[in-house]
Structures are given as structure tokens and as C-alpha cells.
Subunit: 205 residues, 2 copies
DNA sequence: TCGTGGATTTACCAAATGGTAAAAATTTCT
DNA sequence: AGAAATTTTTACCATTTGGTAAATCCACGA
């Protein structure tokens, strides 16, 4: 069995597991957990359904694996917020990193959004263990900056929520955004300028 | 047959149809379209499955009915934005109406978010017919205000996206928000102050 | 080259699910 | 009350879906 043992995975194992995860990311992000079928994932990965179940314990295992892997990438832009930098620029850079992430990894954004939307039934532990401590740490950092008068007084938690909401919106609500904007236009270029201006105004003076 | 004819619906029809729609709203908003089952909806509505199919043509019919009814309510806060009012106060009031909506109708917000997340497969026509014209109209209004120097220059479209994103976030990502905030705290009270301050700063000077 | 263990396919299955037909029950109208 | 129309239940059905058992295939090291 590929899982459970301590053996290092073979070439074939690495190739197939990542093919499955990539296919699953497509399917889960488009149709949600229940809307995705193993047959769809299998066909998109170019493998048979039983072959997929040779590599993963089941549908839920694939989904959880995907979410766990995603979590690290997802948190990275926030991790990079540097306590020693300039507060305004650090936060504005964070906004841009988060927006770039929505642009480059929209499938991941939608996978995550779908899971949270349904009450985070499969990722809650991960949220408590990874997201919460990081969130608290960065809220404390921003509070410290405010106490030093390097930022205007505001609620760090709702600031972060606003950053998350505005950046992820472009990936999660892409179908609505592209319907409302001119065709052929790149939403992200304008969003980048808009969000920079908005949060800059919020964070200065 | 209850549908298709022109007869006015009976007491029983109104009661049962609305019981079904309320139950369906619970189930669809919690589990998404594919994750919801007719049996769940039936049991939550206190009716049998075939009885539900007596009132609606099928699962999709229930879902579309729900989304169509929702659309009107959903658009209402934006409709109320008054061209003759003060630009800043009109937009700030809109933010508060939208936030109140997320607080009062979180199920509806999540139903809508789930549909958009999956590419709006069943509500796209409605978006084109109802949302798009209203969006364009209000964008033109804000542009006019800017041209009259009553608002600072900004992209009306992305302003509206930011309002949608930040307000709906509290309903759509409720499980994440409540996990990150202190227990027992009301997120909406603080969100209201935060968003008012943020958008006020953006819109003044 | 041949055996061995990992990889893949074939052939299934049980449960869940959306939906239907028709009988039975109930309400409504005269 | 009794006929007619509406509403609800009972008994199904076909398909989909997650998952399994076992046979077969195949890569690779000795």
C-alpha cells in the first residue's frame, strides 16, 4: 500500500498522485465536494476509478489532502508580513500578494471558499491549528503598530477580513465579475490599483 | 396541476410551497446544489418526497425558484441608492443595508455565493437581465458624482465589488469568521463600524 | 531472463437518489 | 350529503455513485 508505509514514493506514485490531485482540484473547485464524482476525477486524470482508489483511501481522503496542501500556500502571503518593515507598505504588499494569489490560483481559492461556505466540515481542525495562531499573531503585530502610532486606530481583525474578502472576490465570484465587466478586460490590473488606493487611504494619516 | 395553469393558488398550495422553499433554502445553503437531496428537503419541510414533486417539477425547479425569488431581495439595497441624495451618505447607507442583509439573510447569501462559485450555471440569465442593468446604472450614477467632484476619482465597478465582498464575507465565511473571533462576540456590530470608517475614508476628501 | 512486488483492469455490489404511477385520502364546491 | 377536484401516500424504478475483490499486467532488480 502506498500510504501507511514509510517507503519513499516511486516515480510512478509521485506522477499519478499529483495527476489525481490536479484533476481533483479541477473537479472539486468547479462542482464542490458532493458535486464531484470519482469517475470525473478519474477520467480527467487519465486513470480508472479503482486505480485512483489504489492511491487514495477514498473521495474524502483526496479532498482533505488537497485542502491540507493548499493551506500552506494559502497562509504564505500572511506569513511573509514582516514585523520589521514599514507598517503601511507591509500591509499593502500583503494585499498585492493575496490578489496575485487569487489571480494565479483561482481553483484553489474556490476550493477553499466552497469548503468554508459549507461550514468547513473537513478542514476545521486545520483552521484551528494553522490559521488561527497565525491570524492572532498578525493581529497582535498590527495592534502593536497602532500602539506605536505607526498606523491609524482600526480593528486588525476586520482589516484582515476586508483584505481577504476583496482579494478573493475576484477568484471566487469570477463568473459574476466577468459578466459585469467589459469583455476582454483584465479585472486584476484594475483591481490591483483600486485595492492599493483603497487600503492606502485607510492606513495613512 | 399547481403550475402551468392560471388559477390562483389555494391556501394549502401557498403554505406548502413556502414550507418547501424554506426547507430547500436551509438544505441548499448548507450543502450546495448537488449536496442537497430531495429527501432532506422533504423531511425538513415535513412532507413526503413525492408530495414535494407535486408542487415542483424537480430539484432544479426548486433551486431556480429560490434563486429567482432571492434576486429581487438581493438587488433591493442597490436599487434604493438615491441619485438625489448626498453621494457619500448614499454609498455608506448602501454598505450598511448590504451588511444588514448579510446578517439577516445569511442563508440567502450563501445560496447565492454557492451558485456564483460554481459558475452561475442556473442563474446566469437572471444575472444578465436583472443584475447587469442595475449595476451599469449605478456605476453611471457614481461616475456622474465623480465628474461633479462630489466624490474622489475611483473605479465605480471595483468600489461596488469591494462593498459586495466585504459585506457578504460575514455571511459566506461565517464559519471562519466565528472561529477567528472571540466566542460570544457579535461580528456584525464591529463590522458595521469598521466598514463605515473604511468606506468613509475612501469616499471623502 | 525470470521472479516478485507494485500497478492496473475487470467485474462487480450496495446504498443513495431523482423521479413516477396509481391508489387512497382529503378538501372543496354545489 | 355527494360529486369533483385536489392533495398525499404507497410502492416502485432506473441510474448514479463510492467502493471492493480478485485477476492480470508490468517494471525492475538479481
Amino acid at each position: 500500500m502506498p500510504d501507511g508505509s514509510v517507503k519513499k514514493p516511486s516515480r510512478i506514485q509521485r506522477r499519478n498522485r499529483s495527476a489525481i490531485l490536479d484533476a481533483a482540484l479541477n473537479v472539486f473547485s468547479r462542482h464542490g465536494y458532493r458535486g464531484a464524482t470519482l469517475d470525473q476525477i478519474a477520467s480527467e486524470a487519465g486513470l480508472s476509478k479503482p486505480n485512483i482508489l489504489y492511491y487514495f483511501d477514498g473521495k474524502e481522503d483526496i479532498h482533505v489532502t488537497l485542502l491540507s496542501q493548499l493551506m500552506e500556500t494559502w497562509l504564505d502571503p500572511l506569513v511573509e508580513m514582516n514585523p520589521d518593515g514599514d507598517p503601511v507598505e507591509e500591509i499593502l504588499d500583503y494585499v498585492q500578494r493575496k490578489l496575485a494569489m487569487a489571480k494565479e490560483l483561482p481553483r484553489e481559492s474556490r476550493l477553499f471558499a466552497g469548503e468554508i461556505l459549507q461550514g468547513a466540515p473537513r478542514i476545521e481542525p486545520e483552521l484551528k491549528n494553522s490559521l488561527k495562531p497565525l491570524f492572532d499573531e498578525k493581529c497582535a503585530l498590527i495592534s502593536a503598530w497602532i500602539a506605536q502610532d505607526r498606523l491609524p486606530p482600526l480593528d486588525p481583525r476586520h482589516l484582515i477580513f476586508s483584505i481577504w474578502a476583496t482579494t478573493q472576490h475576484y477568484a471566487d465570484f469570477e463568473s459574476q465579475v466577468s459578466l459585469l465587466l467589459f469583455e476582454g478586460e483584465d479585472p486584476y490590473a484594475n483591481a490591483s490599483a483600486h485595492l492599493d488606493a483603497m487600503f492606502r487611504k485607510l492606513l495613512t494619516r
